[in-house]
């Protein structure tokens, strides 16, 4: 699949944003965050800002961005529509939580309730994002049971890294909890991605797309067109195996291992600089991971072209 920048940025940024909102909501619910609204509101603004940037980016690849609102209508059947609805509905408890924080209700019952609702909706939004891809039976590397856990774990990990970095900037903030969570979820992402790659690397028997397999090997003789068409530009993207292997290592080293080490250093006393340095590492690594998620995905239509 063609790794379009706008969609990769969308899933990475909005994953981090909703992941950060998830942890902020949970920590607000258990009172593990500074009570001041001067912490809560900017923290929520960063989380929602990341999500909004991702959502806006996703509209850039639309042919008619001005009609994007129509995408909210078909939530009964479409995961993309559900994702749009969930993404927007999540803003409601997040904004209520911001108001509650300003009003001094965090920690408190109001903060607990809205925090939990915001966390739940943020998680559901990431579930919807993952299901857009995981529900497509046409793309073997996406129609995998591990795709949904990988999306959730990536969001939880990147959200925890962002939350830890933000807390460390605040004098009364204690980033130890999100830093610990980031370490735990960093390892989880590492394990899930390795398992996912091992799974998609398994040799598979390609389906008999033409139904001509009954005669023996089917070999393309004359292509239907001599130039690349929409199908080949969108679905015919090929990444060299050697490059993919290298990029996988980069994704895990820069995206997971390095941030985990920085978290450990921060917990050992290095503090804010290590936590802040972990953010760009995590974003670059996850961006590469998401690029590979697209680039390594092979669409079944390619079989008609013998690719």
């Amino acid at each position: 699949m063609n790794p379009a920048f706008s969609v990769i940025f969308f899933t990475t940024a909005s994953g981090a944003g909703y992941g950060m909102l998830f942890w902020l909501g949970l920590m607000a619910a258990i009172g593990a965050v500074p009570a001041s609204g001067w912490f809560g509101v900017p923290a929520l603004a960063v989380a929602l800002g990341l999500s909004t940037a991702g959502l806006l980016s996703s509209t850039f690849h639309l042919g008619h961005p001005e009609r994007a609102w129509r995408a909210l209508s078909q939530w009964r059947s479409s995961w993309l529509s559900r994702e749009g609805v969930a993404a927007i509905v999540t803003f409601i408890p997040a904004l209520v939580l911001a108001v509650a924080w300003m009003a001094g209700a965090v920690p408190g019952r109001a903060g607990t309730v809205t925090g939990l609702i915001a966390a739940l909706l943020a998680m559901l939004t990431v579930v919807c994002t993952a299901m857009i891809y995981a529900s497509l039976r046409t793309i073997r590397q996406w129609h995998q049971p591990l795709v949904l856990p990988v999306y959730l774990l990536c969001a939880a990990f990147s959200g925890a890294v962002c939350a830890a970095a933000f807390l460390s900037c605040y004098p009364a903030g204690d980033p130890r909890l999100p830093a610990l969570l980031a370490v735990a979820f960093g390892f989880a992402v590492l394990a899930a991605k390795l398992a996912y790659w091992r799974r998609i690397d398994r040799p598979v028997v390609a389906p008999d797309a033409t139904g001509l397999g009954r005669f023996g090997t089917v070999r393309p003789l004359d292509p239907p067109h001599t130039e690349e068409n929409y199908l080949l530009k969108e679905m015919g993207f090929r990444v060299a195996r050697r490059h993919a292997a290298r990029l996988r290592r980069i994704a895990l080293m820069v995206g997971c291992v390095l941030p985990i080490l920085l978290m450990v250093l921060a917990l050992a006393g290095l503090g804010a600089p290590a936590l802040l340095a972990a953010v760009p590492c995590m974003l670059i690594g996850l961006f590469v991971e998401r690029w590979l998620f697209f680039a390594e995905a092979t669409h079944v239509v390619r079989l008609y072209y013998g690719r």
């Binding site: 993309l80 046409t138 005669f215 003789l221």
Partner: protein, 244 residues
């Protein structure tokens, strides 16, 4: 609505039956489809750089040619590929806007260009490559089964078939109701053991492909003769020269 209509018993299922035995790979179906639909409900079917390097355009039919089998047992099969108007099309259910829909009355899968936001997800969901994005218009386009021909009372009745069917010089394309077991197309499918493409994916395509017929036994190689017949060969040569 992108939810699928509930299929009633005896549901009308309009579709195509494509005969891979007689298709000669002339691309006339693709050309006539383009010609008709460039002025039909899906108009325009934009072409980019049509007279320059790397031309690219929206087409609803693509004709592949394959070699099936190896060695002397191999055969060339021309393979027209277009929308199969599936009974449970994922291209419809993934659509977030309701632009893609399946008609309850005849099963045709269509796109409403005024609602399409051009997110391209439907083309990802289709395993058959039936949907092509029109970059210039910013919307997805696909085969309409010539919905503006088959019900068009301004046309003579014989012409109320999809453009690809009407133009096929080899009569390799047939149009009809595959939901009716007594229709000509259904009988043809039954007789020739027509098959669906990749049914294992679960989208229940309506269109059927008729497999190439088994080949006649190849003629037996000439029996090895005895000593070379020089006089006969000379006479045959003389005969060939004189009859020029």
């Amino acid at each position: 609505m992108t939810s699928l209509p509930v299929a009633s018993p005896g549901q009308k299922k309009l579709g195509l039956v494509i005969d891979l035995d007689t298709c000669v790979g002339c691309h006339a179906c693709a050309v006539n489809c383009k010609e008709w639909n460039a002025g039909g409900v899906s108009a325009p079917l934009t072409d980019r750089n049509p007279y320059q390097d790397a031309p690219d355009g929206v087409w609803f039919n693509r004709i592949h040619s394959y070699e099936a089998g190896t060695g002397t047992a191999s055969r060339t099969v021309h393979f027209p590929r277009s929308c199969l108007h599936c009974e449970t099309p994922a291209c419809v259910t993934v659509c977030p806007t309701g632009a893609s829909y399946k008609r309850a009355e005849d099963g045709i899968v269509l796109v409403d260009p005024d609602r399409c936001i051009g997110c391209k997800l439907c083309s990802w969901a289709c395993p058959y490559g039936a949907r092509e994005y029109d970059v210039q218009e910013g919307v997805m386009k696909k085969c309409t089964l010539c919905v503006d021909r088959i019900y068009n009372e301004a046309l003579p009745e014989a012409d109320r078939v999809p453009a690809c069917v009407s133009t096929c010089p080899a009569h390799a394309r047939h149009f009809g109701d595959l939901g009716d077991p007594d229709s000509d197309v259904s009988k043809l499918v039954a007789e020739r053991e027509g098959y669906a493409l990749m049914p294992e994916l679960g989208y229940a395509p309506v269109n059927r492909y008729l497999p190439p017929r088994p080949r006649a036994e190849p003629p037996a190689p000439p029996a090895p003769s005895g000593p070379p017949d020089i006089a006969g060969a000379l006479l045959r040569w003389v005969d060939r020269v004189l009859s020029r």
